[in-house]
Protein backbone atom coordinates (compact mmCIF):
# COMPACT_ATOMS: atom_id res chain seq x y z
CA UNK A 1 0.00 0.00 0.00
CA UNK A 2 1.22 3.48 -0.66
CA UNK A 3 -0.22 6.83 0.29
CA UNK A 4 -0.33 9.10 -2.75
CA UNK A 5 -0.63 12.87 -2.98
CA UNK A 6 -4.35 12.62 -3.62
CA UNK A 7 -4.81 10.77 -0.31
CA UNK A 8 -2.64 13.33 1.49
CA UNK A 9 -4.85 16.12 0.14
CA UNK A 10 -7.93 14.21 1.29
CA UNK A 11 -6.58 13.67 4.81
CA UNK A 12 -5.45 17.28 5.02
CA UNK A 13 -8.97 18.38 4.19
CA UNK A 14 -10.45 16.05 6.81
CA UNK A 15 -8.01 17.28 9.45
CA UNK A 16 -8.42 20.95 8.49
CA UNK A 17 -4.72 21.50 7.99
CA UNK A 18 -3.75 23.33 4.80
CA UNK A 19 -1.00 21.61 2.84
CA UNK A 20 0.88 22.98 -0.17
CA UNK A 21 2.57 20.79 -2.81
CA UNK A 22 5.96 20.74 -1.13
CA UNK A 23 4.53 19.86 2.27
CA UNK A 24 2.27 17.21 0.73
CA UNK A 25 5.25 15.45 -0.84
CA UNK A 26 7.21 15.49 2.40
CA UNK A 27 4.17 14.15 4.29
CA UNK A 28 3.60 11.39 1.73
CA UNK A 29 7.21 10.25 2.17
CA UNK A 30 7.01 10.32 5.97
CA UNK A 31 3.63 8.60 6.15
CA UNK A 32 4.69 5.86 3.75
CA UNK A 33 7.75 5.02 5.83
CA UNK A 34 5.67 5.10 9.03
CA UNK A 35 2.95 2.89 7.55
CA UNK A 36 5.52 0.44 6.22
CA UNK A 37 6.58 0.04 9.84
CA UNK A 38 2.97 -0.14 11.07
CA UNK A 39 2.03 -2.87 8.54
CA UNK A 40 3.94 -5.38 10.68
CA UNK A 41 0.81 -5.57 12.75
CA UNK A 42 -0.92 -7.45 9.94
CA UNK A 43 1.23 -10.53 10.56
CA UNK A 44 -0.92 -11.22 13.60
CA UNK A 45 -4.15 -13.14 13.41
CA UNK A 46 -6.72 -11.24 15.43
CA UNK A 47 -9.86 -13.19 14.49
CA UNK A 48 -12.09 -13.59 17.55
CA UNK A 49 -10.08 -11.05 19.58
CA UNK A 50 -12.14 -8.43 21.39
CA UNK A 51 -10.83 -4.89 20.70
CA UNK A 52 -9.48 -3.20 23.81
CA UNK A 53 -10.86 0.30 24.16
CA UNK A 54 -9.88 1.06 27.73
CA UNK A 55 -7.50 -0.50 30.22
CA UNK A 56 -9.46 0.96 33.12
CA UNK A 57 -11.63 -2.03 33.92
CA UNK A 58 -14.25 -0.14 35.86
CA UNK A 59 -17.73 0.92 34.97
CA UNK A 60 -18.20 4.63 34.59
CA UNK A 61 -19.51 6.31 37.70
CA UNK A 62 -22.81 8.10 37.44
CA UNK A 63 -23.43 11.57 38.72
CA UNK A 64 -26.67 13.49 38.88
CA UNK A 65 -27.34 15.63 35.84
CA UNK A 66 -27.64 18.99 37.50
CA UNK A 67 -27.38 22.48 36.11
CA UNK A 68 -24.74 24.35 38.03
CA UNK A 69 -24.68 28.08 37.59
CA UNK A 70 -20.99 28.69 38.03
CA UNK A 71 -21.10 32.08 36.39
CA UNK A 72 -17.88 31.53 34.44
CA UNK A 73 -18.90 33.24 31.20
CA UNK A 74 -16.00 35.63 31.49
CA UNK A 75 -13.51 32.82 32.10
CA UNK A 76 -14.75 30.87 29.10
CA UNK A 77 -14.35 33.82 26.76
CA UNK A 78 -11.10 35.04 28.32
CA UNK A 79 -8.66 33.18 26.06
CA UNK A 80 -10.50 33.66 22.76
CA UNK A 81 -8.53 35.30 19.94
CA UNK A 82 -11.53 37.51 19.14
CA UNK A 83 -14.73 38.11 21.05
CA UNK A 84 -17.51 40.62 21.24
CA UNK A 85 -19.19 40.97 24.61
CA UNK A 86 -20.33 37.43 25.36
CA UNK A 87 -19.68 35.89 21.95
CA UNK A 88 -16.81 34.26 20.09
CA UNK A 89 -16.24 36.07 16.82
CA UNK A 90 -15.48 34.07 13.64
CA UNK A 91 -15.17 35.09 9.98
CA UNK A 92 -18.55 35.71 8.35
CA UNK A 93 -20.33 32.43 7.57
CA UNK A 94 -23.61 33.70 6.01
CA UNK A 95 -23.90 36.32 3.32
Amino acid sequence: MSIDLKTIKHISKLSRISVDEQKAEKLAGDLNSIFKFIEKMNELNTDNVEPLTSVAETTLKFRSDEVKNQNIREQIIKNSPEDNEDFFVVPKVVE
Partner: protein, 485 residues
Protein backbone atom coordinates in the same frame (compact mmCIF):
# COMPACT_ATOMS: atom_id res chain seq x y z
CA UNK B 1 23.92 25.88 53.61
CA UNK B 2 25.55 26.36 50.25
CA UNK B 3 24.56 23.06 48.72
CA UNK B 4 20.81 23.41 48.93
CA UNK B 5 20.14 22.52 45.30
CA UNK B 6 22.07 19.26 45.50
CA UNK B 7 19.88 17.96 48.31
CA UNK B 8 17.18 15.41 47.71
CA UNK B 9 13.55 16.39 48.17
CA UNK B 10 13.34 14.19 51.28
CA UNK B 11 16.30 15.97 52.84
CA UNK B 12 14.92 19.43 52.00
CA UNK B 13 11.57 18.54 53.55
CA UNK B 14 13.34 17.31 56.67
CA UNK B 15 15.47 20.45 56.92
CA UNK B 16 12.47 22.73 56.54
CA UNK B 17 10.49 20.73 59.10
CA UNK B 18 13.40 20.92 61.54
CA UNK B 19 13.67 24.66 60.80
CA UNK B 20 17.25 24.28 59.61
CA UNK B 21 16.22 25.84 56.32
CA UNK B 22 13.45 28.26 55.43
CA UNK B 23 11.29 27.98 52.36
CA UNK B 24 12.72 31.32 51.23
CA UNK B 25 16.31 30.04 51.41
CA UNK B 26 15.41 26.92 49.47
CA UNK B 27 13.33 28.77 46.89
CA UNK B 28 15.98 31.43 46.35
CA UNK B 29 18.64 28.75 45.88
CA UNK B 30 16.66 27.03 43.13
CA UNK B 31 15.67 30.35 41.52
CA UNK B 32 19.30 31.43 41.56
CA UNK B 33 20.52 28.22 39.96
CA UNK B 34 17.69 28.30 37.41
CA UNK B 35 18.68 31.89 36.50
CA UNK B 36 22.23 30.70 35.84
CA UNK B 37 21.01 27.78 33.76
CA UNK B 38 19.27 29.52 30.85
CA UNK B 39 21.44 27.65 28.38
CA UNK B 40 19.69 24.40 29.24
CA UNK B 41 16.41 26.00 28.05
CA UNK B 42 14.50 23.94 30.60
CA UNK B 43 11.87 26.55 31.29
CA UNK B 44 9.20 27.84 28.95
CA UNK B 45 7.68 30.15 31.55
CA UNK B 46 9.40 31.27 34.75
CA UNK B 47 7.45 32.34 37.81
CA UNK B 48 10.44 33.16 40.01
CA UNK B 49 9.41 36.39 41.72
CA UNK B 50 5.99 34.98 42.62
CA UNK B 51 7.74 31.88 43.94
CA UNK B 52 9.93 33.95 46.26
CA UNK B 53 6.91 35.96 47.45
CA UNK B 54 5.05 32.74 48.17
CA UNK B 55 8.03 31.31 50.06
CA UNK B 56 8.17 34.40 52.29
CA UNK B 57 4.46 34.04 52.96
CA UNK B 58 4.97 30.39 53.80
CA UNK B 59 7.73 31.22 56.26
CA UNK B 60 5.56 33.81 58.04
CA UNK B 61 3.15 31.09 59.06
CA UNK B 62 4.71 27.76 58.18
CA UNK B 63 2.53 24.67 58.23
CA UNK B 64 5.13 22.02 58.87
CA UNK B 65 2.62 19.16 58.91
CA UNK B 66 2.36 19.29 55.13
CA UNK B 67 4.20 16.78 52.95
CA UNK B 68 5.91 19.39 50.76
CA UNK B 69 6.26 22.34 53.16
CA UNK B 70 7.35 25.41 51.21
CA UNK B 71 9.17 23.29 48.60
CA UNK B 72 9.62 25.03 45.22
CA UNK B 73 8.70 22.81 42.27
CA UNK B 74 8.76 23.43 38.52
CA UNK B 75 6.31 21.33 36.47
CA UNK B 76 5.98 20.20 32.86
CA UNK B 77 4.16 22.77 30.75
CA UNK B 78 1.41 20.28 29.95
CA UNK B 79 -0.32 20.82 33.30
CA UNK B 80 -2.81 23.68 33.36
CA UNK B 81 -1.86 26.16 36.04
CA UNK B 82 -4.39 28.82 36.97
CA UNK B 83 -3.35 32.29 35.79
CA UNK B 84 0.04 30.98 34.59
CA UNK B 85 0.55 30.51 30.85
CA UNK B 86 0.37 26.88 29.74
CA UNK B 87 1.70 26.19 26.24
CA UNK B 88 2.11 22.40 25.90
CA UNK B 89 5.25 23.31 23.96
CA UNK B 90 3.10 24.59 21.09
CA UNK B 91 2.78 27.87 19.24
CA UNK B 92 -0.97 27.31 19.13
CA UNK B 93 -1.14 27.79 22.93
CA UNK B 94 1.49 30.53 23.11
CA UNK B 95 -0.88 32.94 24.84
CA UNK B 96 -3.09 30.48 26.67
CA UNK B 97 -3.62 31.32 30.34
CA UNK B 98 -5.77 28.67 32.05
CA UNK B 99 -8.57 29.81 34.31
CA UNK B 100 -8.37 26.56 36.27
CA UNK B 101 -5.79 24.26 37.85
CA UNK B 102 -5.03 20.63 37.02
CA UNK B 103 -5.87 18.19 39.82
CA UNK B 104 -2.32 16.84 40.01
CA UNK B 105 -0.74 20.29 40.43
CA UNK B 106 -3.48 21.31 42.87
CA UNK B 107 -2.60 18.25 44.97
CA UNK B 108 1.01 19.45 45.09
CA UNK B 109 0.10 23.03 46.12
CA UNK B 110 -2.29 21.64 48.75
CA UNK B 111 0.71 19.97 50.39
CA UNK B 112 2.58 23.26 50.61
CA UNK B 113 4.67 23.26 47.42
CA UNK B 114 5.34 26.47 45.46
CA UNK B 115 5.38 26.79 41.66
CA UNK B 116 8.78 27.77 40.23
CA UNK B 117 7.77 27.72 36.58
CA UNK B 118 6.69 25.65 33.60
CA UNK B 119 9.12 23.25 31.98
CA UNK B 120 9.84 22.68 28.32
CA UNK B 121 8.47 19.60 26.55
CA UNK B 122 7.88 18.23 23.09
CA UNK B 123 4.88 19.86 21.41
CA UNK B 124 1.72 18.28 22.88
CA UNK B 125 4.09 15.67 24.40
CA UNK B 126 4.72 14.21 20.93
CA UNK B 127 8.40 13.42 20.70
CA UNK B 128 11.31 11.59 22.29
CA UNK B 129 13.99 14.29 22.25
CA UNK B 130 12.30 17.60 23.15
CA UNK B 131 13.16 18.78 19.63
CA UNK B 132 9.52 19.23 18.58
CA UNK B 133 8.97 22.03 21.13
CA UNK B 134 8.10 25.41 19.61
CA UNK B 135 10.25 26.89 22.40
CA UNK B 136 13.47 25.20 21.28
CA UNK B 137 15.71 22.30 22.20
CA UNK B 138 16.55 21.47 25.78
CA UNK B 139 20.17 20.65 26.57
CA UNK B 140 20.89 17.55 28.58
CA UNK B 141 22.87 18.54 31.73
CA UNK B 142 24.97 15.40 31.15
CA UNK B 143 26.70 16.87 28.09
CA UNK B 144 26.38 19.78 25.68
CA UNK B 145 24.58 19.02 22.42
CA UNK B 146 22.86 15.96 23.85
CA UNK B 147 19.07 15.58 23.91
CA UNK B 148 17.46 15.14 27.36
CA UNK B 149 14.90 12.74 25.87
CA UNK B 150 11.23 13.49 25.62
CA UNK B 151 8.60 14.40 25.82
CA UNK B 152 9.26 15.44 29.45
CA UNK B 153 12.74 16.68 28.42
CA UNK B 154 12.66 20.01 30.25
CA UNK B 155 11.47 18.22 33.38
CA UNK B 156 14.24 15.62 33.21
CA UNK B 157 16.89 18.27 32.56
CA UNK B 158 15.59 20.41 35.43
CA UNK B 159 15.82 17.55 37.94
CA UNK B 160 19.14 16.28 36.65
CA UNK B 161 20.60 19.82 36.51
CA UNK B 162 19.17 20.59 39.99
CA UNK B 163 16.95 23.48 38.91
CA UNK B 164 14.05 21.93 40.85
CA UNK B 165 14.20 19.37 43.66
CA UNK B 166 11.62 17.19 41.91
CA UNK B 167 9.07 17.52 39.12
CA UNK B 168 6.08 15.96 37.42
CA UNK B 169 5.95 14.81 33.85
CA UNK B 170 3.46 12.91 31.73
CA UNK B 171 3.97 9.57 30.02
CA UNK B 172 1.94 8.42 27.00
CA UNK B 173 4.49 6.05 25.47
CA UNK B 174 7.60 6.58 27.59
CA UNK B 175 7.73 10.34 28.06
CA UNK B 176 8.71 10.10 31.74
CA UNK B 177 10.87 6.97 31.71
CA UNK B 178 12.92 7.61 28.57
CA UNK B 179 14.06 11.15 29.58
CA UNK B 180 14.69 9.90 33.14
CA UNK B 181 16.94 7.22 31.66
CA UNK B 182 18.74 9.79 29.43
CA UNK B 183 19.48 12.14 32.35
CA UNK B 184 20.35 9.74 35.16
CA UNK B 185 17.14 10.39 37.10
CA UNK B 186 14.21 8.35 38.40
CA UNK B 187 10.84 8.44 36.63
CA UNK B 188 7.59 6.68 37.50
CA UNK B 189 4.67 6.12 35.16
CA UNK B 190 1.78 5.16 37.44
CA UNK B 191 -1.05 2.76 36.62
CA UNK B 192 -3.59 4.22 34.20
CA UNK B 193 -6.28 5.82 36.39
CA UNK B 194 -3.96 6.44 39.34
CA UNK B 195 -3.35 10.16 38.73
CA UNK B 196 -6.12 12.39 37.47
CA UNK B 197 -5.90 13.61 33.88
CA UNK B 198 -8.08 16.64 34.70
CA UNK B 199 -6.35 19.78 33.52
CA UNK B 200 -3.57 18.01 31.63
CA UNK B 201 -3.43 19.05 27.98
CA UNK B 202 -4.69 15.87 26.29
CA UNK B 203 -2.59 13.87 23.84
CA UNK B 204 -3.90 10.26 23.80
CA UNK B 205 -6.48 9.89 26.52
CA UNK B 206 -6.41 6.10 26.88
CA UNK B 207 -2.62 6.19 27.45
CA UNK B 208 -1.76 9.52 29.17
CA UNK B 209 -0.62 9.39 32.81
CA UNK B 210 1.14 11.94 35.01
CA UNK B 211 3.97 10.85 37.28
CA UNK B 212 6.94 11.99 39.37
CA UNK B 213 10.54 12.51 38.13
CA UNK B 214 13.15 12.71 40.86
CA UNK B 215 16.74 12.25 41.96
CA UNK B 216 16.01 9.05 43.86
CA UNK B 217 13.33 6.47 44.61
CA UNK B 218 12.42 7.79 48.06
CA UNK B 219 11.57 11.24 46.62
CA UNK B 220 9.61 9.58 43.85
CA UNK B 221 7.51 7.63 46.37
CA UNK B 222 6.77 10.79 48.34
CA UNK B 223 5.55 12.73 45.32
CA UNK B 224 3.51 9.80 44.01
CA UNK B 225 1.77 9.68 47.38
CA UNK B 226 0.80 13.34 46.92
CA UNK B 227 -0.32 13.32 43.28
CA UNK B 228 -2.26 10.06 43.16
CA UNK B 229 -5.86 10.71 44.22
CA UNK B 230 -9.27 9.63 43.01
CA UNK B 231 -10.88 12.48 41.08
CA UNK B 232 -14.46 12.63 39.87
CA UNK B 233 -13.48 15.25 37.30
CA UNK B 234 -11.67 12.52 35.33
CA UNK B 235 -14.09 9.79 34.25
CA UNK B 236 -11.24 7.26 33.99
CA UNK B 237 -9.81 8.02 37.43
CA UNK B 238 -9.93 4.80 39.43
CA UNK B 239 -11.14 4.62 43.02
CA UNK B 240 -8.71 2.15 44.61
CA UNK B 241 -6.93 2.11 47.94
CA UNK B 242 -3.75 4.12 47.46
CA UNK B 243 -0.75 3.37 49.60
CA UNK B 244 1.35 5.66 51.76
CA UNK B 245 4.12 5.00 49.27
CA UNK B 246 6.96 6.77 51.08
CA UNK B 247 6.05 5.45 54.53
CA UNK B 248 5.63 1.88 53.31
CA UNK B 249 8.86 1.94 51.30
CA UNK B 250 11.10 -1.03 52.13
CA UNK B 251 14.28 -2.60 50.76
CA UNK B 252 13.10 -6.03 51.79
CA UNK B 253 12.25 -7.67 48.48
CA UNK B 254 13.29 -11.18 49.45
CA UNK B 255 11.48 -13.87 47.52
CA UNK B 256 9.92 -11.47 45.00
CA UNK B 257 9.66 -13.04 41.57
CA UNK B 258 11.08 -10.95 38.76
CA UNK B 259 10.46 -11.88 35.14
CA UNK B 260 13.02 -11.35 32.36
CA UNK B 261 11.22 -11.19 29.00
CA UNK B 262 13.26 -12.67 26.17
CA UNK B 263 11.55 -10.51 23.53
CA UNK B 264 13.22 -7.38 24.94
CA UNK B 265 16.56 -8.67 23.65
CA UNK B 266 16.07 -6.75 20.41
CA UNK B 267 18.22 -6.88 17.32
CA UNK B 268 20.92 -4.25 17.15
CA UNK B 269 20.75 -3.41 20.86
CA UNK B 270 24.13 -2.07 22.01
CA UNK B 271 26.22 -4.51 24.01
CA UNK B 272 26.37 -2.01 26.86
CA UNK B 273 22.61 -2.21 27.33
CA UNK B 274 22.74 -6.00 27.33
CA UNK B 275 25.50 -5.85 29.96
CA UNK B 276 23.55 -3.38 32.06
CA UNK B 277 20.53 -5.64 31.98
CA UNK B 278 22.65 -8.61 33.10
CA UNK B 279 24.06 -6.51 35.93
CA UNK B 280 20.54 -5.51 36.88
CA UNK B 281 19.57 -9.17 37.12
CA UNK B 282 22.55 -9.80 39.43
CA UNK B 283 21.58 -6.83 41.63
CA UNK B 284 18.04 -8.15 41.91
CA UNK B 285 19.38 -11.57 42.87
CA UNK B 286 21.67 -9.97 45.46
CA UNK B 287 18.58 -8.37 47.00
CA UNK B 288 17.03 -11.80 47.39
CA UNK B 289 14.70 -11.71 44.40
CA UNK B 290 14.04 -14.79 42.33
CA UNK B 291 14.68 -14.46 38.59
CA UNK B 292 12.34 -16.18 36.14
CA UNK B 293 12.61 -16.24 32.35
CA UNK B 294 9.35 -15.20 30.76
CA UNK B 295 7.91 -14.52 27.33
CA UNK B 296 5.79 -11.59 26.16
CA UNK B 297 5.30 -12.90 22.61
CA UNK B 298 3.55 -9.87 21.12
CA UNK B 299 6.12 -7.27 22.20
CA UNK B 300 7.29 -6.46 18.67
CA UNK B 301 3.75 -5.41 17.71
CA UNK B 302 3.52 -2.81 20.48
CA UNK B 303 5.12 0.09 18.62
CA UNK B 304 3.08 -0.34 15.40
CA UNK B 305 -0.07 -0.57 17.56
CA UNK B 306 0.91 2.51 19.53
CA UNK B 307 1.50 4.51 16.35
CA UNK B 308 -2.11 3.90 15.38
CA UNK B 309 -3.85 4.23 18.74
CA UNK B 310 -1.98 7.33 19.95
CA UNK B 311 -2.28 9.39 16.73
CA UNK B 312 -5.94 8.36 16.37
CA UNK B 313 -6.75 9.69 19.83
CA UNK B 314 -4.54 12.73 19.26
CA UNK B 315 -6.29 13.62 16.03
CA UNK B 316 -9.61 13.82 17.80
CA UNK B 317 -8.24 15.48 20.97
CA UNK B 318 -6.52 18.17 18.93
CA UNK B 319 -9.62 18.93 16.87
CA UNK B 320 -10.43 21.54 19.54
CA UNK B 321 -7.64 23.84 18.34
CA UNK B 322 -9.62 25.75 15.77
CA UNK B 323 -8.63 29.36 16.42
CA UNK B 324 -12.05 30.20 17.85
CA UNK B 325 -12.31 29.44 21.56
CA UNK B 326 -8.70 29.88 22.60
CA UNK B 327 -5.20 29.79 21.24
CA UNK B 328 -3.54 31.12 18.11
CA UNK B 329 -5.66 32.27 15.15
CA UNK B 330 -4.41 32.87 11.59
CA UNK B 331 -6.28 35.20 9.26
CA UNK B 332 -8.43 33.44 6.68
CA UNK B 333 -10.69 34.41 3.80
CA UNK B 334 -13.55 32.49 5.33
CA UNK B 335 -14.21 30.19 8.30
CA UNK B 336 -12.76 27.01 6.73
CA UNK B 337 -9.74 28.86 5.41
CA UNK B 338 -9.19 30.31 8.89
CA UNK B 339 -9.34 26.81 10.47
CA UNK B 340 -6.92 25.35 7.95
CA UNK B 341 -4.38 28.15 8.18
CA UNK B 342 -4.62 28.32 11.97
CA UNK B 343 -3.83 24.62 12.31
CA UNK B 344 -1.18 24.65 9.60
CA UNK B 345 0.66 27.61 11.13
CA UNK B 346 -0.10 26.81 14.78
CA UNK B 347 1.01 23.17 14.92
CA UNK B 348 4.57 22.00 14.30
CA UNK B 349 5.44 19.33 11.77
CA UNK B 350 5.48 16.30 14.12
CA UNK B 351 2.06 17.20 15.50
CA UNK B 352 0.68 17.67 11.98
CA UNK B 353 2.16 14.32 10.95
CA UNK B 354 0.46 12.57 13.85
CA UNK B 355 -2.88 14.30 13.27
CA UNK B 356 -2.65 13.13 9.64
CA UNK B 357 -1.86 9.53 10.64
CA UNK B 358 -4.70 9.57 13.16
CA UNK B 359 -7.18 11.07 10.70
CA UNK B 360 -6.21 8.50 8.08
CA UNK B 361 -6.59 5.44 10.33
CA UNK B 362 -9.98 6.67 11.53
CA UNK B 363 -11.25 7.60 8.08
CA UNK B 364 -13.91 5.70 6.19
CA UNK B 365 -12.49 2.59 4.53
CA UNK B 366 -9.43 2.35 6.79
CA UNK B 367 -10.95 2.22 10.27
CA UNK B 368 -11.25 -1.58 10.43
CA UNK B 369 -7.91 -2.30 8.81
CA UNK B 370 -5.98 0.01 11.10
CA UNK B 371 -7.76 1.34 14.17
CA UNK B 372 -9.87 -1.70 15.00
CA UNK B 373 -6.97 -4.02 14.19
CA UNK B 374 -4.71 -2.01 16.54
CA UNK B 375 -7.24 -2.25 19.35
CA UNK B 376 -7.30 -6.01 18.92
CA UNK B 377 -3.51 -6.24 18.96
CA UNK B 378 -3.57 -4.03 22.04
CA UNK B 379 -5.75 -6.65 23.71
CA UNK B 380 -3.22 -9.38 22.84
CA UNK B 381 -0.41 -7.27 24.30
CA UNK B 382 -2.36 -6.80 27.52
CA UNK B 383 -3.12 -10.55 27.62
CA UNK B 384 0.63 -11.25 27.45
CA UNK B 385 1.14 -9.27 30.65
CA UNK B 386 -1.91 -10.82 32.38
CA UNK B 387 -0.50 -14.24 31.61
CA UNK B 388 3.04 -13.63 32.97
CA UNK B 389 1.71 -11.89 36.09
CA UNK B 390 0.31 -15.27 37.15
CA UNK B 391 3.94 -16.31 37.64
CA UNK B 392 5.89 -13.15 38.52
CA UNK B 393 5.50 -10.03 40.68
CA UNK B 394 7.34 -7.66 38.35
CA UNK B 395 9.36 -7.50 35.14
CA UNK B 396 12.87 -6.12 34.66
CA UNK B 397 13.98 -4.65 31.31
CA UNK B 398 16.26 -1.90 30.01
CA UNK B 399 14.43 1.47 29.86
CA UNK B 400 15.66 2.42 26.39
CA UNK B 401 17.51 0.72 23.53
CA UNK B 402 20.30 3.34 23.65
CA UNK B 403 21.71 6.17 25.75
CA UNK B 404 20.96 9.83 24.94
CA UNK B 405 21.72 10.81 21.35
CA UNK B 406 22.89 14.08 19.82
CA UNK B 407 20.57 16.96 19.06
CA UNK B 408 19.60 16.70 15.38
CA UNK B 409 20.73 13.08 15.03
CA UNK B 410 17.28 11.53 14.57
CA UNK B 411 15.22 14.60 13.81
CA UNK B 412 14.57 13.81 10.16
CA UNK B 413 13.82 10.13 10.57
CA UNK B 414 10.51 9.69 12.39
CA UNK B 415 10.67 5.89 12.49
CA UNK B 416 14.13 5.77 14.10
CA UNK B 417 12.90 8.35 16.62
CA UNK B 418 9.84 6.22 17.38
CA UNK B 419 12.03 3.14 18.00
CA UNK B 420 13.34 4.86 21.13
CA UNK B 421 10.14 3.92 22.92
CA UNK B 422 10.30 0.24 22.11
CA UNK B 423 10.61 -0.87 25.77
CA UNK B 424 8.29 1.71 27.28
CA UNK B 425 5.27 1.67 24.93
CA UNK B 426 3.94 -1.82 25.83
CA UNK B 427 3.44 -0.61 29.43
CA UNK B 428 1.15 2.25 28.36
CA UNK B 429 -0.84 -0.01 26.04
CA UNK B 430 -1.48 -2.36 28.99
CA UNK B 431 -2.08 0.50 31.48
CA UNK B 432 0.57 -0.78 33.93
CA UNK B 433 2.89 1.08 36.31
CA UNK B 434 6.63 1.16 35.56
CA UNK B 435 9.64 2.94 36.97
CA UNK B 436 12.98 3.78 35.35
CA UNK B 437 16.02 4.00 37.62
CA UNK B 438 19.55 5.01 36.63
CA UNK B 439 21.71 1.91 36.61
CA UNK B 440 25.03 2.71 34.97
CA UNK B 441 26.99 4.73 32.43
CA UNK B 442 27.97 3.81 28.90
CA UNK B 443 31.49 4.24 27.50
CA UNK B 444 30.76 7.90 26.72
CA UNK B 445 29.74 8.47 30.33
CA UNK B 446 26.05 8.82 29.48
CA UNK B 447 23.48 7.33 31.89
CA UNK B 448 21.52 4.17 31.18
CA UNK B 449 18.33 3.16 32.93
CA UNK B 450 16.59 -0.03 33.97
CA UNK B 451 12.83 -0.35 33.93
CA UNK B 452 10.75 -2.26 36.47
CA UNK B 453 7.21 -2.98 35.32
CA UNK B 454 4.58 -3.89 37.90
CA UNK B 455 1.07 -5.23 38.12
CA UNK B 456 -1.76 -2.72 37.87
CA UNK B 457 -2.08 -0.66 41.11
CA UNK B 458 1.10 -2.21 42.57
CA UNK B 459 3.13 1.01 42.61
CA UNK B 460 4.41 0.12 46.08
CA UNK B 461 5.83 -3.15 44.81
CA UNK B 462 7.90 -1.58 42.02
CA UNK B 463 8.97 1.33 44.24
CA UNK B 464 10.27 -1.21 46.78
CA UNK B 465 12.13 -3.18 44.11
CA UNK B 466 13.60 0.05 42.75
CA UNK B 467 14.53 1.20 46.26
CA UNK B 468 16.37 -2.05 47.00
CA UNK B 469 18.15 -2.11 43.65
CA UNK B 470 19.08 1.58 43.82
CA UNK B 471 20.97 0.79 47.01
CA UNK B 472 22.97 -1.98 45.30
CA UNK B 473 23.57 0.01 42.09
CA UNK B 474 24.79 3.08 43.99
CA UNK B 475 24.59 5.24 40.84
CA UNK B 476 26.26 8.64 40.82
CA UNK B 477 25.27 11.12 38.16
CA UNK B 478 28.20 13.01 36.63
CA UNK B 479 26.99 16.59 36.37
CA UNK B 480 29.81 19.03 35.66
CA UNK B 481 27.70 22.21 35.53
CA UNK B 482 29.20 22.85 32.07
CA UNK B 483 26.45 25.35 31.27
CA UNK B 484 27.15 27.60 34.26
CA UNK B 485 29.57 30.32 33.27
Amino acid sequence: MSDITSQTLTSLVKNIKEKKLSSEEVTKAFVDRSEKSKELNSYITEDFSNAIDKSKKFDEKPNLDLKLPGIPIAVKDLFCTKDIRTTAGSKILENFVPTYESTVTQNIWNEGAILLGKLNCDEFAMGSSNETSFYGNVQNPIDKGLVPGGSSGGSAAAVSGQLTPITIGTDTGGSIRQPASFTGTVGLKPTYGSCSRYGIVAFASSLDQAGPMSQNVEDCALLQEVISTYDNKDSTSIDFKRGQYSKELTKDIKGKKIGIPKEYRVEGMPKEIEELWKKGIEYAKDCGAEIIDISLPNTSYALPTYYIVAPAEASSNLARYDGVKYGFRAKGENLIDMYEKTRSEGFGSEVQRRIMIGTYVLSSGYYDAYYLKAQKVRKLIKNDFDEVYKKVDAILTPSTPSSAFKIGEKKNDPVSMYLNDIFTVPVNLAGLPAISIPAGLDSAGYPLGLQIIGKAFQEQEILNLAYAMEDKINFKNKITDWWIK
